[in-house]
Every structure is written in C-alpha cells, then in structure tokens.
C-alpha cells in the first residue's frame, strides 16, 4: 500500500542531468519516473523497490509532439496530449485511437507514451501500436551517445525492453508517411477502457489502385505481451479493403499467434476477438488510408 523506503529523489531539468542522476547511485536500483501510472502501482505494492527516483516531469525536451520532420513524440508526452492532438496524419492515427482509451481521464492526464512503452506491461496498448506503426525509439546514454532502436527490437517481452537501466528514452519517431497510409487501433476489455484483453493495431499503405501495398498487424493482450503478427501483414497485401479478404487475413492472424485463457477470456474467445477487432480496425485503417 505504501512504498518501501526511498533514499533519494531527483528532479532534473535536462536529459543530461537525468542521465547523470540515474548513474549517480552506486548501490541499489535507481529508476526513472515518468507519469507513474504503472510504476507507482508497482512501487506501492512493493513489487518494485527503487532506492532512488529520477523524476522526469521537468525535462522539457522530453515533452511534445512535433511534425517538423516526420512525427516525433517526446517520451514524456502524456496520453491526454496525444488524445487531443488533431494533426496526426492518417498513417499514425492509431496513436490517438489508443491514447484516448487508456485507463481514464486522470490516468491520461498523467501517463506518458514513454512510460508505457518502457514499462511494456503484458496487457498494454501503446507497445502494440508502436510495433504496428514501426516506430523508432531513440535512447540516450550518459556518455552523450544516442542509439535508435526499431520498435520490434525494443519490445522484447512483458516488462522487458531493449532500454538499459542507465538509458533514457528520448522519443518515439516516424518518418514522413508515404501517401495513402492509414492505421487504427481498438481494444476489448471486460469493462470500458480496461487494460486490453485483446488489442489490435493495423497499419497499411495502399498503391495507386487502392490495393494494400504494405501492412503491419500487431496484437496486444497476449501472454507474451504485444506481438507483431507477420502472417496478418503478409495476408493483407493485395487486399482491396473488402471484408472477405480482410477477414481471411485476420483468421491468419488468429491462427498464427498463441492465445491464452485467463479470467477474462479463454483462448478461443481471444481468437475471436482478434478476428472481430482485426476486421474492424483494418477497415478503419483502409478508410483512413484512402482519405
């Protein structure tokens, strides 16, 4: 209920200070605190016991959405800012679909995209979205170096990412999208806006004839966390956006991923949700791509 003892708290104002602070602690675990909407749960339940916290709330350079050169979303950008951002190109609209349905208003006022993808909870929306949209994660180290990691290499397993504990996620970014590209995300949970029992994110681009040229499908809510479903991406290629071909592709997705049973849904229902939500979001992605 209450956090275990915490030795120190830092609130840096720059990335450099943040990285210096995280490496300052020789003993124990030093952790970055972003929005805290997941991490604080873990800290309060004492499943996580940092001895030092580096609070990123005041690092201005980590915050904001910028389309000067493609799309760049600072790691400390909150869900509410993504949900209310109206200039997303159709290609990246899934980000908004997901952000406006994360948790609740209070969580969206506080929780961040960077926190979400770095925490990479087993049932979580944003990791699947960055996977389907093939985002690039920029990680900075104390030595001043920055490395870019593609989402598929960044998202490793539930609660595990390619980020080292002494690295900071600067932003998630995308290039300027090709024309006729669209994406969409939707999840299902037992109560409205709950963590995804299944979440589906689809990103597609169309050729001049309106047929699917490239596609990427990601599934949230699996026992192994968010996953790319290659089968679905491959099967969508060539689709004209008709329900039959999309439905066939989503059947492939359901067949290709391993679904599990838990209190909320059994494996077969998860498959059905993958198909149902998959068709719905793919149709929406097509519609957005055509605009």
């Amino acid at each position: 209920m209450y956090p275990a003892h915490i030795e120190s708290y830092y609130r840096p104002t720059t990335v450099a200070e943040a990285l210096a602070a995280i490496t300052r602690q020789p003993e124990g675990d030093s952790m970055f605190l972003a929005g805290g909407q997941s991490l604080m749960q873990a800290i309060k339940s004492r499943m996580v016991r940092p001895t030092s916290i580096v609070d990123l709330q005041s690092v201005a350079e980590l915050r904001g959405i910028d389309q000067a050169n493609g799309l760049r979303i600072g790691a400390m950008t909150r869900y509410v800012e993504i949900a209310e951002y109206e200039q997303f190109p159709a290609a990246y609209a899934a980000l908004r679909d997901a952000a406006e349905r994360v948790g609740d208003r209070q969580v969206r006022n506080r929780g961040t995209i960077g926190g979400s993808v770095c925490w990479n909870y087993v049932a979580s929306c944003l990791p699947s979205v960055v996977l389907a949209l093939n985002g690039t994660m920029s990680l900075a180290s104390a030595d001043g170096s920055i490395r870019d990691v593609k989402a598929k290499d960044f998202i490793i397993a539930p609660l595990e990412t390619a980020r080292r504990e002494d690295e900071i996620l600067l932003c998630v970014s995308w290039p300027k999208p090709p024309p006729k590209t669209g994406s969409a995300y939707k999840k299902w949970g037992l109560v409205t806006d709950a963590l995804p029992v299944v979440g589906m994110c689809v990103s597609i681009s169309l050729d001049d004839l309106g047929k699917c040229r490239t596609a990427q499908v990601a599934v949230a809510g699996l026992a192994d966390g968010a996953q790319i479903a290659d089968a679905g991406g491959a099967a969508l290629i060539g689709s004209a956006g008709d329900e039959a071909s999309i439905s066939a592709a989503m059947n492939d997705v359901a067949d290709s991923v391993e679904t599990h049973s838990d209190h909320w849904a059994d494996a077969s229902y998860r498959e059905q949700l993958i198909k149902r939500l998959g068709v719905e979001v793919t149709l929406r992605a097509f519609a957005r791509a055509r605009r």
Binding site: A4, L190, T192, H263, A265, Y269, R276
Partner: protein, 800 residues
Amino acid sequence: MASNPQKTNDSWMGSRLARKEDLRLVTGQGKYISDIVLPRMLHAVFVRSDRAHAKIVSIDTSAALALPGVVCVVTGDDIVDELRSMPQPVLLPNLPAKYPTFYPLCVGKVKFHGAPVALVIARDKYVAEDAAELVEIEYEELPVVVDPEAALEPGAPLINEDHDDNEIFSMTFTGGTTQAEHDANDKEVEEIFQNADVTIKERFRVHRTGLTPMEPRGVLCDWSDSDGLTAWITTQRPHIDRLAIIDLLDIPADKVRVIAPRDQGGGFGVKAPFFRENVIIAHMARKLGQPVRWIESRYESLMNVGQERDQINYLEVAATQDGKLLALRNRGIADNGTGETGVYWGFVMPFLGAVELPNTYTWDKADVKLRVAVTNKACLTPSRAFGHFPTRFAIERAVDMIAHKIGMEPSDLRRKNLIPHLPYTSTTGEYYDSGDFVQVWDNLMSHIDMAKFREEQQAARSEGRYIGIGFGTGVELSGMASEVLVPMENQPGYGAASVRLDPRGTALVFGGDAPGGQGHETSVAQIVASAFGIEPQDTVTTTGDTATTPFGSGTIGARGASYFMSAVHNACVEIKVKIARILAHDLGISATLDDFEFVDGQVVLRSDRSVKKSFRDIVERIIMHPINMPPGEVGGLEATVYFEAAKPMICFNADFCTVEVDIHSGEFKITKWVSSEDVGNVINPLIVDGQMHGAIVQGLSNTMFEEFIYNDQGQQLTADFENYKIANAADMPDIEVTYSPSPCPHTPLGTRGIGEGRPSSVPGALSNAICDALLPFGIEITELPLRPGAIWKKIQESQA
C-alpha cells in the same frame, strides 16, 4: 445550499428534498473513520496468510520488532489466553449450525488466503507496513478445499477441526418440521412432477461476488482506566458490536462505548457482521493504554469481506401446458467459506436465500433443501440481496425456461402466476403482509408495448440483429420483525428512536442504527418536520453512538423507512400529545392532539384557527418554564419509542430490460431498464430513486463483471480493483424507476423499507433478456457471470 422544493399537502412526506447530509460531503467536510485522529494514536497492520490451508509451524517476529518505531507484534498464541474465543452467545443465530471456534488472530492453522496471522502496531503507518513484511511465518501446507460439493464429500479434508465434517448448516424449508412430514411432502411434490405437463431441471450456478463499499473497514480504539473503551468502528450495528466487545474482552458493560462514525462510505451489509479485527484492536488499545487504529486496505477488504452469492441450486419446476406453475424442488449447495464471522457465520445468507426462493409466484407445493459447506475461502459476508441473489436468478430463469418450453410469453406466464392477494404465506413459510403484486406488474407492463416489441424483434432478426426483453420480479423484506430476526440473528427487530426538542424549537433525533449513505438525516428531518410543522433544517439527527442512542439492531434489511422512521414518527406523536395537553391547559380549553394542527411553525386549534401558538414558544414554555402545569405534568419534551409492527413486512418490485446482443462477439448492450416499485408511501422519492439505481447497478455489476476468483490452491486472485472489476459509468445504462405504491397498513406512515433485496431481480431479468434475444439459438443461461465470451461460446455451440 440548494433551493428546496416545496412541501406537498402541508407535509414534507413525499417531497424530493435535497439531502441535508450533502453540504458537508460535497465540501470535503465529512468525518469518516480515517479522518479521526487521536493524540498518541498508533497504527495497526495485519500480517495475513498467503496460504489457503496450512499449519502455522512458527512465527518469527524478531526482525519486525527490531524496526525502530514498532511498538509490538502479536500473534494468535500471544492473545489466545487474554480474550474469549468466538462464538459468544450475542453473535449466535438461533439456528442449528456447527459454529467454529476461532480467535481474532489465527491459532494453530490458517484456513483461507488472507486470514490474519499477526498484528503489527507501530507509531507510523508506513513503518507498520515495513515491519509486517519482516514477520516470517513458516507454514506446513494442508490439503485445500475450494469446491463446496467436494467439501461435502465423505472424507474431504476437514477445515474446522472441532467438527466432524464440512457441513456447517443444512435445512429443509418445506412440508413441516419432522422427518415424516418432510418425507410426506417430498412424496407429494414428486407426484406433481410425475404428472406435470412440463418440467425443467437445471443446475444454476452463481459465482462468488458481492459488495464492496468504497470505504473499507476501520477500527479506532481508545482506552482510559476511568472511562474504559471507546471504539469507533465502521459498522451498521454499533449496539451489537458493543455487546460483543463486552463479552469477548470481559469488560464491564459501563465501560464500553461504540461509535459508528457519522459518515460511513457505504455498508450494503458488508459492515453488518461483527469482525475479528474489532476485537484485537480493542484488546490492544486496552493493553497498550494508547489509541490504536486499523484502516483496512482495499487489498485486505477484497480478501476478507464482501464475498457473497456463491451457490449452486439444482432447481426443478413443474407446470401445466397452459402456464400454471405447480411445484418447485430445489437442492441448494452454498459455499460458506470458513464461517469465521460473527452474527452471520456465512450460512445465514443462503438460509434466507432458500426461504425466499418461491418469490412472487404461487406454488401448490415445494420441496426446498439446503446444504452449506465450509471451504478454504473467506467467510461469506452479507451483501445487499442477502442470500437470495442466486436463488432469485435460478427461479426467474426457470420461469422463462418453462415459458420457452410451452411457447408462452414470459411476461404472461409471470402475471398468471403472481400471488393475487396478500397477505400470503409462501411455501417456505415467509409471510407477505400486504401490497398488490398485480398492480405493480401492470404498472411495469404499461411501459412496454409487447406486441410492438415482438414486431421490432422480428424485423431486427431479419437484419441479423438480435434484440430481446427480459423480466424479473422480487419480494424483499421491509425490515425484519423480531419474529424473524430473533431466530435468524438472535436480535430484536424493533426500531427505536429518541426525539428530544430543545428550547429553541429544534428537534434532536437519536437512532441506534448507523447508516452509510442512505440519507437518514434527510428522511428523519422530513418526518419530524411533517409531524411538528417545522422546517427540515430544524432537525438534527445523531446515529450510531451507543452512549447517546437507544438500542437498535442496526442499519440492516431495509429497516430504515419501516422500523426506524416509524419509531421517529411515533416519538413525535408522543411529544405532540404532551404539547397538546399542556397547550389545552394553557388555553383553558378541553382539547387533545386531534384538536390541534402542527403547521408552519404554529400549533393551531382546528376549530378556531385564530387560536394558535408558535411551536417554538410552546416548546420553550414546556421545557424552560414548567410552572402552572396541568396537575401531575412535568416539563421537558422528549420521547423514546420502540416500534414493532404487527406483522413482518415486505416490499415488492418488477423489472424489465431490453438488450441487443452481437452474436459474433457475445457482447450485449442494455438499451433500456425500467422498474416498477411498491415501496409504500415514499418519504423522499429522490432518495428512493437513488437507492434503486444503486441497487440495480450493483446487481448488474455482480452479474456482468465482478467475481472473486480462487484458484485450485485457494489463492485469491482478485484482491485489487484491476482484477475485481466493478462497473464504471460507461458500462451502465440509464434507469427509469416508476412507482405503484400501496401504503403499508402496518406502519404509521404507510412506509415500507426498501433497497436491501433490490439487486436480486437483476440477474434474472438481464439473463432472460439475453436468452430472449437469442431464442433462435435456443440458448438458456444457467450460470453467472454473464461474460461475452461465455455467451459467444453458447452461440457457437448451438450452431455446431
């Protein structure tokens, strides 16, 4: 504050008065238990078992004790000789059951995941939690029993070792009192089944779910050698808690005062039992001579209380081809959990559930039996719709299944079998005092055009859309008469109130029952204002302090409007009689209460309305200037009245809802919910509407989302709100509450108590609507919760 609506017919009865309580609650000035802080107060944290069934081999508290700020750590062995075990007589129903012996902290073994093993007391609550982590307990695991049917098998591992099996309670509810009478009755029922045109037989299962007040439990105890113990407890029944503490801790009766804080964050039955935590906190406060407070975490709360329902009912119904219900036969099995909770012991709920099985329908005969099994789960705690949520789900579903079988409209079948005239005694012996079921039903049906709905349903189906309508009815107890409560809970059923007028014309009302959000202060004010012709703001109500209030059995079983409010009214009348007597004397006339009217702050002589005196003046005269009094009369205006109705009382409701089901996902949307209520004369419709909305949504949330899940190791996996899912606003429909009242002849104001049992017609109505929508697939729901995945699976199976 809000502008108050006008009173109607010179009375505040029936007015949609905005609540008096709200001013403090919307401004953050409520005083809940966790807001009460005493000097030198210590903080208590329980160390709870992470095993479901295990011997305690050893407990090492040394590391915890060594932590700076820790005052003490106690275990079961430390306190077993210092206080009495439960059960004590005050906490025992007069029902034949095997009551387990237990202590506030586990002694020897743990019987469920979450059982209290040790208690840490520290000067700081954070430190107390640090120390709790350091208590090392070594267990030796014992075989775990989580299935009630398995628990009843011969040779099942024994949970309460002072007994020879796991059956805590069993009873036959029909046919008489002797075995021979039961056998004869059962034979007659069997004959009806043999000869019936149509029968159904199903296993109806309702999962473990219940209520979770937003405020968890809490206890704060203070001890002084001169005044003894003062215990603030989140409780619906402070007077019972007081007696229990006196007996368990052997404290002289003059030295125990229990206070239910004025503001409590909901109860719903969950705060009605007497809990083991109360005893140990009181004991430690006495021992340490220092205030000790325990505030339950949500985690503890979900592990320990609010778990109810959890029954299997093997129900059979026999009927004629033209839809006359003939007989029912039920073999109920309830999962009691450990049985370690005072007053109810788990089984009292399924006991009442079995009694209420026949519901609103007439039956020629019934054969109803119940067995209750002890398992390695938390003991059942009462939750609104006490015990009958599962039995009502079963009966309401069974009625629809009969209707489907004979091709009759379920609504027609219901109307045909509604108890036509009251009073009536049900086949299980429950007395239904008054009301008009048919009128309430017809009022409900006036809100739906069935023929039109069936046309729309047909049209929708042709488009691949599946809409449906479902009905449910419910009888609930309107308070509990002593005649019912003495056998069931060993407590009186009467309502009690003290009304005291102060010299400035203000009414002070004292009640022993402790509310948790039902708006007692407002309802009382309306009754008092109506009685004395004063304004509602001129009444102040105090509840829940045993030092100042008359004895009351608690805010339980919808006894507010039936018993407590009746006592308030009668106390007012008693005072008015005295006022009238003295006023007549002062006026030099011969007059009694009937000759006066109390209105607009005046006491007016009806026969000559120019003869009047202000209420405040006459009150002040009687209290402050008791000279020139009628012979034998003394001053002062106060009355304490106990109210017991001539008969046990009920209230009644009927619901319908419409749904649309997506057959490709099993998801459904509730498109309409309408209720029809007979709650007698309504004191405040705004409050009653709110009670109904809340109860119906609790029923829906229980039916659709909430479930306490134990795995086969007895691990309770739903100890937070991420996993124990409660309906949020976006999940729930709007609700239309309508009234078809018949005044209760047994209460002075014609009021009925409402709300306790109200969630119980919900699971049947909703399931019936879904089955109605899915009639082309022939789906009959027999199990809760109603998860989309399960519905989708049934659709798949029907198509296979």
